[in-house]
Assembly symmetry: C2
Homo-oligomer: 312 residues x 2
């Protein structure tokens, strides 16, 4: 039986002014799955990333990868089973799209095993079902870029409208302070009503960010990485946020904000040397506060998942 | 003394989801000014468009073109006067950037007469001062595209950040129902607080519109021409709005919304034949309601003002 190893990347959702509509993919880290089809129609999930996610649910209907492949198989009417071995896992609760990466890898791998009946963009809606079981909402701003690479705009959910935005060559610093911010809390802390004048600033920056990405204008991208609505509130849940952001900007970051619902933070810059310097400066802020961190330096991923056959 | 004739175009601000940040320029109509320098340091304004704007203030400090040139001259420290003859005028109160076009034409013409000391984009802030005297706010979403052509994004006012977005070849239908909607009323009717969930839909569409314009994807432009915050409220001030919008869409418009603060409406389409059919269908709605209209069919202006020397 053919066995594949598929890796889907971590992602940074929201991207400052693009709350709930924008995300981009990283080269590192990612979720690595080994997958093979089964003739017994069962979805079998094994967790070999116990060190990172010891209490991962293995029942398919509770597991983000399991739900995603079930949704896929149901949609195309295929009566087949699949074995999924989770080999490597982005840390859950990091704000780097951990649940999205498993779901994205699972549907990308399954599509390959079935002879690619669907285009990658059509896989987004199945991976979204994995997100629904993991965090209660079938959002697409992580699974979209994890599957497609680059920057992804979720213009609309009703109907689903996924727009690929080509990403310029940019480096990303991500720092994951080892504190817990529950996605639910990060959402509940937000106000349901906002000022129209703030919203105008926000959609000016959203538009500026898209224009900057498409014009390959890194300064415009930097000026547009400015969130006046969500970041001022959510950053309260991240001790040291303002100092770490200042450190990033002082070290040459084009911009810096919260990754997804946090607690991870991301900063964009023009090369990996700068990105390393930036993440080092941010790390010092957190270590001074006695908070351990994980750090990642990576370019924006422009291709999506990678896949190899390890047994045919 | 050198005399020039300068024409600056009408503009459509807001462009559905781009409230207060987006505008584009039309080929027709426009404001036409004749201008020449004076040695006596006076700003002299003559109105030869009495049929359209009989009560235009002629005192420089109350006239949009006068204020714009005064701001320009003061900034560059030039001690010189200028004669401005307003030859043709877009109807005031139309929502098509009438005051902006005069201010844009005046600073564009003056810059030429002075030997082009400034780039066109640097003229925006002086034309904005003309807007301040005309409508109380120095907004840039009409003067920007009137001066630069194409689509203009006002990403930020503090500091001013004007981004040029290249426009695809699109046709515009504009219909001006002969009813009065005061800019002040159109602004006061808006709620100061809006729902976050609506704002997310709006900035998804703002981002989609920029992506569509830059990708030359007319279907994405059409899907993104959707304003869930301003249009539902301001359209109440335009009798027949919903029916006219439906008529435009049924006639093949990519999208349709209010031009600026109204009462004019605009629709985008792929060619002038469609644009004429669209405006005809909208006109029928208003004439059935006993409301006279002016209609315009034009391509998006991709060059800004035009200028010729008529006496050297």
């Amino acid at each position: 039986m053919k066995t594949i190893r598929v890796k889907a990347p971590a992602t940074v959702a929201n991207v400052a002014a693009g709350f709930d509509i924008l995300g981009f993919a990283l080269e590192q880290p990612g979720d690595v799955l080994e997958m093979s089809l089964r003739t017994d129609h069962k979805i079998v999930i094994k967790n070999e990333a116990m060190d990172v996610f010891p209490n991962m649910p293995l029942e398919p209907e509770k597991n983000t990868a399991g739900v995603a492949v079930m949704s896929f198989l149901e949609n195309i009417g295929e009566q087949i089973g699949v074995t999924i071995i989770i080999k490597e896992k982005i840390r859950p609760g990091s704000g780097m799209g951990s649940s999205a990466a498993s779901a994205a890898a699972a549907v990308f791998g399954l599509n390959y095993l079935l002879g690619n009946p669907l285009s990658t963009i059509d896989l987004v809606r199945f991976a979204m079902e994995g997100e629904r079981v993991a965090c209660g909402t079938a959002h697409a701003d992580n699974v979209g870029p994890s599957l497609l690479g680059n920057v992804v705009l979720v213009r609309s959910y009703t109907p689903l409208d996924i727009i690929e935005i080509p990403a310029p060559k940019l480096s990303v610093s991500v720092i994951h302070p080892q504190i817990e911010v529950r996605t639910e809390d990060a959402r509940n802390i937000l106000r349901k009503e906002i000022q129209l004048k703030d919203a105008i600033v926000q959609w000016g920056n959203t538009a500026g960010l898209i224009a900057g990405l498409m014009k390959n204008d890194v300064n415009l991208i930097g000026r547009s990485l400015n969130d006046v609505i969500i970041e001022p509130i959510r950053s309260l849940l991240i001790p040291g946020f303002q100092d770490a952001k200042k450190a990033a900007l002082d070290s040459g970051a084009l911009g810096c904000s919260i990754s997804g619902s946090g607690p991870s933070m991301f900063a964009l810059s023009t090369d990996n040397v700068k990105a390393q310097k930036i993440v080092n400066s941010m790390e010092r802020v957190f270590t001074d506060l006695g908070i351990d961190v994980l750090t990642y330096v990576s370019q924006i991923n422009t291709h999506g998942p990678t896949l190899e056959e390890i047994q045919s």
